[in-house]
């Protein structure tokens, strides 16, 4: 069964460093999302992406964040200068437009720790 994959599964970085989190959505999906979950808290929406542009972003998604679909398969989230409070689990999700198009399928997450 097709699934969303994310790399790396864990990343440790120093405050101020740039990180890129990678996602490979399900191949025929057209809508892509990033969410984050700070340890012990709820899952929060960051950004949605469709047709090579951001559809919607939350207040969390400030200028330090950017997303890109560099090729036909990858979808990346970049944090330019990480802060301690960026430590969280980051989930990528994708969905299609037909059939079961209303369901977002989530990847396994990348656990980011900023020291």
């Amino acid at each position: 069964e097709p699934e969303v994959t994310q790399t790396p599964s864990h990343q440790v970085t120093q405050m101020g460093q740039e990180v890129i989190l990678r996602c490979v959505p399900i191949s025929n999906h057209l809508y892509f999302y990033w969410y984050r979950q700070i340890l012990g808290q709820k899952v929060e929406f960051l950004v949605s992406f469709y047709n090579n542009e951001i559809s919607e972003k939350s207040e969390i998604f400030d200028d330090q964040f950017s997303v890109e679909r560099p090729d036909g398969s990858n979808f990346t989230l970049k944090i330019r200068s990480t802060k301690l409070e960026d430590s969280a689990m980051y989930f990528c999700a994708s969905r299609t437009t037909t059939g079961d198009g209303e369901t977002q399928y989530f990847g396994p997450g990348t656990r980011l720790l900023v020291l």
Binding site: Y31, Y33, Y35, Q41, K42, V43, E44, F45, S48, Y50, S55, E56, S58, M89, F91, A93, T97, E102, T103, Q104, Y105, F106, G107, P108, G109, R111
Partner: protein
């Protein structure tokens, strides 16, 4: 504004007991989706169910059942004959029926099934 409230932060039951997880939502949309996701200790988000706002039929899937009541804006989840493997955090969530809308999650209910 959209909001999902899961008033039960943590629940413990003995194996084989039935348990109901409560979910109350708020939305101004007339059409929307409701979801339940399971997050086991390994951290991934496992999709359990999606309901449309115009379909109030209750659903049963094995030991799982869902009770959707628009009149009370509730979408409760019942596990029958609970098992230790059901131990996880369960998130109720909501999204509008827009083309690319985000999912709004509740804070989750941590369920402990005691052997």
């Amino acid at each position: 504004a959209q909001k999902v409230t899961q008033a039960q932060t943590e629940i413990s039951v003995v194996e084989k007991e039935d348990v109901t997880l409560d979910c109350v939502y708020e939305t101004r949309d007339t059409t929307y989706y409701l979801f339940w996701y399971k997050q086991p200790p390994s951290g991934e988000l496992v999709f359990l169910i999606r309901r449309n706002s115009f379909d109030e039929q209750n659903e049963i899937s094995g030991r799982y059942s869902w009770n959707f009541q628009k009149s009370t804006s509730s979408f409760n989840f019942t596990i029958t004959a609970s098992q230790v493997v059901d131990s996880a955090v369960y998130f109720c969530a909501l999204s509008s029926m827009n083309r690319d809308d985000k999912i709004i999650f509740g804070k989750g209910t941590r369920l402990h099934i005691l052997p």
